[in-house]
Symmetry: C3
Subunit: 446 residues, 3 copies
C-alpha cells in the first residue's frame, strides 16, 4: 500500500515529474529498429513519457528523434520528405538533420545566417539489440550504455517485439515482477494432462509438465530479494518433489526492465522494458535471447504469434486481444480449461493489469507475503526518484556493467539460500556473469 | 420550469446527492434475471447511479452485487472465475461469496485470520418478476419489497425487457408520464385508414382505430391528478364520441416507475422503471403483465421485436435505432406516413427525450396545461428528496402495499370525475386492487 | 509571431469574443443551397461559431435559421415536421415560422395569446451564389450584401462546394493566402515532364507546364501588399523567363474570404470562405466562377471529384482523405512523384494546416519574407476586432461595392510594380472592376 503522494510519484513520468526526471537519466527504447527499416524510410510518430516527437532515419542510416513542429509555421514534420540526409518540411521546405540543425531554408533568400539560429529539440540516439534508444536527459549526466545482455549479442541470438499496454507503466511492470501469479492467472484447470499442457502451450513452461504442476500445487511461493547496483534479484521458492525446492528467479533492472524467471540452463531468456507513452498507456518492448545459440526460425514464428512475453499483435503492434474487445475472453474456456478464458500469457497479464484501472490505486491495497518483489521494486524506484530530486544521481546509471546479469529457474535441495542458488548457477549472488565490455559491441545486433 | 438548483437536484443521482440518497431508499432493478441465466454463469459488469459493480450468480443460485476491485491488488473481479459458491480473482486467487466475504486466500499461508478482515462492499439482492433488485441504502432503512404487480405474478403472465436510453433518467421518466404527446409524437399522418393503422402497428392501440382517432383529434387532453401513498394517478381526458370522454390513466410510483395508460379491461398492462447508469444515461426496465392470463408466445415475439414500451434491441439491449444513427429516421416516411419518420413507439420516445440534451435544461421551459403530470412528478420526487435530506424517510418506502395499483383506459360519459372512473374500474380512486400480500410470493416469477 | 493574447483573439469566434463579434458584423454562409434543395425539405443541423442551430426551407421556399430547442419542453426541432410554412415540434406539435414566431400551439386550448409571447431566436437569411448566408449580428448594424462576384452571376457561371476542415479557421485561411507554399507543398518531384504534369493534374496550373516550372524553380517569391476598403491584394512575384516576372496575385476580403492567384485572362476564378464550426473545426465554402462563360459539365465533374480548392468529399461533405486516415498518404508516391505523397491540392493544404494543431501556436513561429501576406492578414483582422471592441464599426461591412474585385496570374517585364500590373489587368490597383450594383441581382444564381 502506498500513500496517495507516493502513488502519484510512482506513476507520473511527464517532463519535470520526479519519476520522469529519473527515467530521463537512462537510455530509453523508443522504436524497434525495424520500424525505421532503411535509409530515408518514412518518418514515424513517437510519443514517450508524454512528449510528442518524430523519428527518421537519414540517407546515411543515422536516426534522428526530434520535436515535430517546424519552427517556421508549426507544421508537423511527420509529413515531411525524408531526403538527402535530412527531413524537409512539406509546407515551405525547411530542412533539418538528425541532430535538429536547420540545413536548408529555400523560401528565404540568403537565409544562411537565419538558418543558424534555428534548431529543433533533438535527443541522442543509439541503436542496440534491434531497438532504437534515446537519451532524453541533461547532456552532462548522459550514462554509458548499460551491459544489457541482449543488446550485446549477434542479431541471430535475439528476437524482439513490442506491444501496446493500455494502462500506467508501473502496474504493468509490477505484473512482470510478480511471479506468484503464475499459479493462478496463467494456469490451466483441465483435468487431463494432455489438455492441460495444450492449454499451457503459449507459456514457456509448456514442455515441462512437472514445472507447471509445481506452480499449480504451490500457490504461495516464498520470496527472497538480493539487491545489486543495477537493481534487484527476486527469487520465489516453491515446493518441488519431496526435499526439493523449485526456484523461479527474476531480475528488475533500473528503471524499467524486467527479466522472466523461466530459463533453465541452456534455455532462452526473456525480458521486458516498460516505456510510458503517457500516464495511461505504455509500450512494452519484449526480447528473447540465448547467449549460447541462435534463435531458430521456428522459434521466431512461434514468438511472433504470441508466446511467453510476446503478444499476438497486428501490424501496428496492437495486441489482437485487448481492452477494447475484452481480450476475446471465452467464458466456457474459463470454466473448463483455463483460469481466465483468455488466450496467451501476455494477454492474460495485460487483461489483469489493465483491470487495475488506467492508474492503479495503491492506497486501497492489502498486500501479502507474495507481494515482496512488488514492494521492493517500489522502494527502489521511489527511493531513487526522491534521491535524484535531492541532487543524488542514480547509482545504476553510473554502473553500466552491473546490468550484465542473468536469472532463471532452478531445482535445489530445500534450505539452499537464494544467494547460493545464484552463485552455483551464474557465479555470483546477483546473477552477474563474465560479460564482454560494452566497448566490444561492433558487429553485433542492431 | 425549474430553478437551476432544482434541475440539478432532480437529475443527479450519484452517491451523496439528495436524489441519489432518495433512490437508495428503494429496491432498484440492476439486471434482468436472464442476464445471469444459471448458477456459476459468467459475472456481469453493472453500473448503477454512477457506482461500478460486478454481479454474479453462485453455485447455489444466489446473486451477489459487489464492488469490482479485489482488495488485494485492485484487479477487477469481472475477470474472475465464478466457481463453487464464490467469485475468485484471476490475479492471485482471492475468493469472495455473494455477501462480499473473503472465503479463500490461497497465496497467503495461514491466511484465515487475515481473511476475516477483508470484505467487499456488497448490496442485498432480491429476485422478483424476472429481474434482480438491489437495496443500496443504509441497512436500518431497508424497506419491505413493494407490491408491484408484475413481480407477484407467475412468470407465464409477465414479459420483461430492458433498453439503453442515452439521456438523464428524469426526462425519460417525464416522457413516460406525459400522455399528451401521443397525439403528436406517436401519430400516423396517412390519409387512408389501412395505411394509418399499419403505421401505428407498434403502438398498443394498434387494433383500435377509434382510440387512435380520438387521440389524433383531441391533442389537448385535460388532466386530473390523484395522489396516494406510493405515487400519483395521472388521468388525461379526451373527447370521444359525442357525450363521451376517452380517459387514458397512468401511474407514477416512487421513485422511478411508470405504468402506461393503454389497458382496457382484460388487456395487458405495461410499465417502465428508469434506473440511472450515470447522469447522462439510464437503463429502462420494461414489463408487460396480464393478471388474468399468460402472455402468449406470439405476444412475446411481438414485444421482443419492439412494441409499446419494448424497444427493438441488440444482444446487449442497445436499441437498434438510437442516438448514434439518428434513429434511422426516414424523412419521406415523416412527410407522408408518420409524425416522426421513426419506427417504433419506444424509439420515437427515445429520440425526442435524447433530443432534450444529455440533461434537459428545465430553466428555459414554457409549460402548459398538458404538462400537469410532469409538474406533479417533479414536485413529488423533489419534495421527497428534500424531506429526506431534512431527516424525513420517504412515505412510499414504508408503504409496500400501496404499490398494488393498476391503471388504464376507459370510456365514460362526460363529466364523470377521475376518482369515480378509477373506482368503477378498479374499486378505488387510486387504482388500488385487492392484492395478495408480498409474503405469499412463493412459486411466482423469478 | 503573435503574443498568446493575440493568438487567442485571432482564433476564438464564440459569442462575445472580439473576433466572434467582428465576424457577426458580416454575412456568413452556413449551408449550400442544395442542402435544403426544395420547399419543405428535411431540416438540417447547423453549427456556426459554436452556436447550434437548425435550418429549414418552408413551403414558400423561404429559409429559416433558428435555435434548435423548442421553448415548450426543450425537444430539438431538428426532428420536427417541416409542413405548411413552418417547422412543427415532434413532441407536442408547437409550430414555428422562418422568423421564429410560434404559429400554432395545438396542445394549449385558446393558446393564441400565449403563442405571441413565444419566439425562437432566428437569424435573417439571404440566398446568393448557390449558398445560404445568415446575418448573426445586431439588427441595427446589418450591412448591405457585399458585391462578391460569384454571388452576382448566373448559376450557370458558378460552381460551389464545401469541405470540412478539422482545425481552427485562421490557420486554414492563412494557408489559403500563403501562395509561396505552392513551390513545395503542391509540387511534383518526378523527373519526366509527362509524369510531372500527371502528378499535378488536380492543380489549376495543370495544363501549363511553364507556370508550374516557374513555381518549382523560384521558391522564394517577393511579396507586395495593396490595401483597400474590403481587404488586401497579395501579390507574389517569381522569376519567369529571362527579364520577365510571373505574378500570382490573391485577394483577402474581410473577414474570411480568399481568392486564389491562378486565373489568367479568360480562365476561371476560385475562392474560399472559412466559417468556424467551433474553434477546432470549420467549413470551407469553395467557389469557382467565370464571368465570361458558363462552367461546363465536364468542369463541374472535375471539380466535384477534387480539383484546385475543391476537395474530393463524401455525401456529407467530409473529405475522403482526412485527419482520421492520415490523408491516405503514400510514402512511395512521396519519394518518387510528389512532395507530400497525398493526392489533391485541397487535401495537401488540409493535411499541413491540420498538422499545425487544433489551434496553431503562433507564439513559437519564425516568420520570413514569404509570410508577408499572412502577417498583413493578421494585422487587418486583429485590428478590426480591436477597433470594433472600441466602438468602431468595420469599414468593410460598410463598403459592399469594395468587394467587387478580381485577381489572378500575370507575366510582366521585371520591375513593373504590383499596382501597375493590377491596373493593366483589371483597371484598378485593387482589382476593382466595373461591377453591377448588388441591387440588380434578380434572376441570378441562388
Amino acid at each position: 500500500m502506498l500513500s496517495f503522494a507516493d502513488n502519484e510519484m510512482l506513476t507520473r513520468t511527464g517532463e519535470g515529474t520526479p519519476m520522469g526526471t529519473l527515467f530521463r537519466r537512462f537510455w530509453t527504447p523508443f522504436l524497434l529498429s525495424q520500424e525505421l527499416p532503411e535509409p530515408d524510410a518514412p518518418p514515424v510518430r513517437v510519443r514517450v513519457m508524454g512528449e510528442d516527437l518524430v523519428a527518421f532515419r537519414d540517407t546515411r542510416g543515422r536516426v534522428g528523434l526530434v520535436e515535430p513542429q517546424c519552427p517556421h509555421r508549426g507544421a508537423n514534420l511527420f509529413w515531411g520528405r525524408n531526403e538527402d540526409n535530412g527531413l524537409r518540411c512539406a509546407f515551405h521546405g525547411w530542412k533539418f538533420d538528425v541532430e535538429g540543425r536547420c540545413v536548408d531554408m529555400p523560401c528565404v533568400p540568403n537565409g544562411a545566417n537565419y538558418m543558424k539560429t534555428i534548431r529543433l529539440k533533438s535527443y541522442e540516439v543509439e541503436e542496440r539489440g534491434g531497438m532504437l534508444w534515446a537519451y532524453m536527459g541533461p547532456p552532462e549526466a548522459k550514462p554509458t550504455f548499460p551491459a544489457i545482455e541482449f543488446t550485446m549479442l549477434p542479431a541471430s541470438h535475439v528476437f524482439v517485439s513490442k506491444k501496446l499496454q493500455e494502462c500506467n507503466w508501473a502496474q504493468a511492470c509490477e505484473g512482470g515482477l510478480d511471479t506468484a501469479h503464475f499459479s493462478y492467472l496463467h494456469m490451466a484447470v483441465s483435468a487431463s494432462e494432455e489438455e492441460f499442457m495444450k492449454t499451457m502451450s503459449r507459456a514457456d513452461a509448456s514442455q515441462q509438465f512437472q514445472r507447471v504442476k509445481w506452480m499449480k500445487d504451490d500457490g504461495a511461493p516464498r520470496f527472497t530479494i538480493i539487491a545489486h547496483d543495477a537493481g534487484i534479484v527476486i527469487g520465489g521458492a516453491r515446493t518441488a518433489d519431496p526435499g526439493n525446492t523449485y526456484w523461479r528467479i527474476s531480475q528488475f533492472l533500473m528503471p524499467n526492465h524486467g527479466y522472466t524467471p523461466n530459463a533453465f540452463p541452456g534455455e532462452s531468456y526473456h525480458g521486458q522494458t516498460w516505456i510510458p507513452i503517457d500516464d495511461h498507456s505504455c509500450w512494452i518492448y519484449c526480447y528473447t535471447w540465448n547467449p549460447e545459440r541462435p534463435i531458430t526460425e521456428a522459434e521466431r514464428r512461434k514468438y511472433a504469434g504470441g508466446f511467453a512475453v510476446h503478444a499476438e499483435v497486428d501490424e501496428k503492434w496492437i495486441p489482437i486481444r485487448n481492452r477494447s474487445n475484452d481480450y476475446l475472453i471465452d467464458r466456457v474456456e474459463q470454466k473448463h480449461r483455463s483460469f481466465t478464458g483468455i488466450t496467451g500469457v501476455s494477454e492474460q497479464d495485460a487483461c489483469i493489469q489493465d483491470s487495475q484501472g488506467w492508474i492503479a490505486d495503491r492506497t486501497r491495497e492489502h498486500l501479502g507475503p507474495t507481494d515482496m518483489g512488488v514492494v521492493q521494486f517500489r522502494k527502489l524506484v521511489l527511493g531513487a526518484a526522491k534521491a535524484l530530486a535531492g541532487g543524488e544521481e542514480p547509482k545504476a546509471a553510473g554502473a553500466p556493467q552491473a546490468y550484465a546479469v542473468r536469472c532463471g529457474g532452478a531445482i535445489t535441495p530445500d534450505a539452499v539460500p537464494l544467494a547460493d542458488v545464484m552463485t552455483q548457477r551464474f557465479g555470483s549472488p546477483t546473477g552477474r556473469y563474465d560479460a564482454p565490455s560494452p566497448q566490444s559491441t561492433e558487429g553485433v545486433a542492431s
